[in-house]
Assembly symmetry: C2
Homo-oligomer: 215 residues x 2
C-alpha cells in the first residue's frame, strides 16, 4: 500500500472514531486523548494529523465531497445533471463502507444546530468542495478557472448543495423522514440548477466538434 494512502486511512479511521464520540458524548465532553485511544494511536499522532479536535471529522466530509466531485469530473458533456445523478448517485452506486460513512456524515450534519464546533469543520469542508467545483465548472464550460464568474457559480452551487445536505440530514435524523434516493437526487439537481449562475447543468458543446472524416 502506498504511503500516502496509508496516511489517509489513519486520518479516516481517526475521523470515524471522533465522529462516533462526538455523536454519543458531544464535542465538548470528548477529549483528544479519548479519540486517539479509541483509534488505538498515541495522542501525539492525533495532533500530528489534525490542528484541532473538531477538524478531526473533516476527512469524513472530505471523502463524501470527493466522491461527489469524482462523479462530476466524469460527467459526459452530452448529459444533463439529472441524468448524471440518476446513473451515479445513491447507495447502489458505491461501496457499503462508503454508505456507512455517509450515514455518519448525515448524523453529524443533524447536530450542526447544537454543535457550532462541528459547523465550523463542515463549512471548511464545503470550502474545499467549492474549490473542486471551480475546476469542474471551468473544465465543463471551457473557461479559465480563475475567472470571477466561474468562482461565483461554484460558490452559489456549493451553497445549494450545503443547504440540501443540511435539510435532508436534519429531516432524516430529527424527524425520521424517509426520503428515496430518487427524491433526494431530484431535490439536489433542482437546487443546483436554480443556484447556478452559469449554464453547466445541461449538455454542453464538446470542446472539439465531432467530424466524420480526418482533420
Amino acid at each position: 500500500m502506498s504511503r500516502s494512502v496509508a496516511r489517509e486511512n489513519t486520518r479516516l479511521d481517526l475521523a470515524r472514531h471522533a465522529a462516533r464520540l462526538f455523536l454519543s458524548k458531544g464535542v465538548a465532553d470528548t477529549t483528544g486523548d479519548e479519540i486517539a485511544a479509541a483509534a488505538g494511536v498515541a495522542t501525539r499522532t492525533l495532533w500530528r494529523h489534525f490542528r484541532s479536535k473538531e477538524s478531526a471529522v473533516e476527512p469524513l466530509f472530505a471523502q463524501s465531497s470527493l466522491r461527489f466531485a469524482a462523479i462530476l469530473r466524469r460527467w459526459p458533456r452530452n448529459l444533463s445533471i439529472e441524468e448524471l445523478f440518476a446513473a451515479n448517485l445513491g447507495p447502489d452506486n458505491q461501496a457499503a463502507e462508503d454508505t456507512a460513512d455517509d450515514i455518519l456524515v448525515v448524523r453529524l450534519l443533524a447536530r450542526l444546530p447544537e454543535e457550532p464546533a462541528l459547523r465550523s469543520a463542515w463549512l471548511m469542508s464545503c470550502q474545499i468542495g467549492e474549490e473542486h467545483l471551480i475546476e469542474i465548472i471551468a473544465e465543463r464550460l471551457d473557461r479559465p478557472s480563475g475567472e470571477f464568474e466561474v468562482r461565483l457559480c461554484a460558490a452559489t452551487v456549493t451553497a445549494a448543495i450545503r443547504i440540501v445536505d443540511e435539510t435532508v440530514s436534519l429531516a432524516a435524523v430529527k424527524h425520521g423522514l424517509k426520503t428515496t434516493t430518487a427524491e433526494v437526487n431530484a431535490h439536489l439537481a433542482q437546487a443546483i440548477r436554480r443556484a447556478s449562475t452559469l449554464p453547466f447543468c445541461d449538455p454542453v458543446t464538446p470542446r472539439i466538434w465531432p467530424t466524420s472524416g480526418g482533420e
Copy 2:
C-alpha cells in the same frame, strides 16, 4: 449606557486588538494573553467573551454584516437593489469609525489564503449573515422564513456577497487595486442578482395595496 451595549463594546474592542495583532504577527504567533493585555483586560475576560482566539475577530465581521443587514431591512419595496446600494452603501453613508473597522475587515479577508483559522471565523460570520438574510428575503417576498426556497436563496446570495468581499479585499490589499464605491456597489449588486434564486432584487408589490380612501 445599557448593560448589553457595554458588553458589546468590550467585545468589539477585543476584536479590534485581536485583528491588529493577527495582522502584524499572524494568528499562530499571537497568544490570548497578548490580545487581552492589548485591550487592557484580564486574560480570563477574553475567554469569557470568546471560545477561541480566532473567534475574537468575529465581532468585526458581525458588525459589518449587521450594518449591511440593517440597510436591507429598511429597503423600500419600490426600489431596486442598485438604487438601494447607491443611496446607502459606501463610506459617505456611515461613521468614520465604522469605515476604520471595515478597513480592518478588508485586511483580514486578504489574509484568508494564508490563515485558515481566520477563514473559519469568517465562514461562521457569513453563516450568521445568512440567517439575517433569510428574514430579510422572507419579509420582502411575503413568504414564510422557514421555507426551503427562501433559505436556498439566502444561502446563494450570501455566497455571492462572500465571494465579492473576498475578491475585492484581495485585489485591494495584495494588488493595490483602487476600486471606487460605485464600482464595488455595481459589482456586488450584479453578483447578488445573478446568485438570487428568488426575485427580491427588483421592486416588489407592497404587502397592502395602496388605497385612496379608508378600509
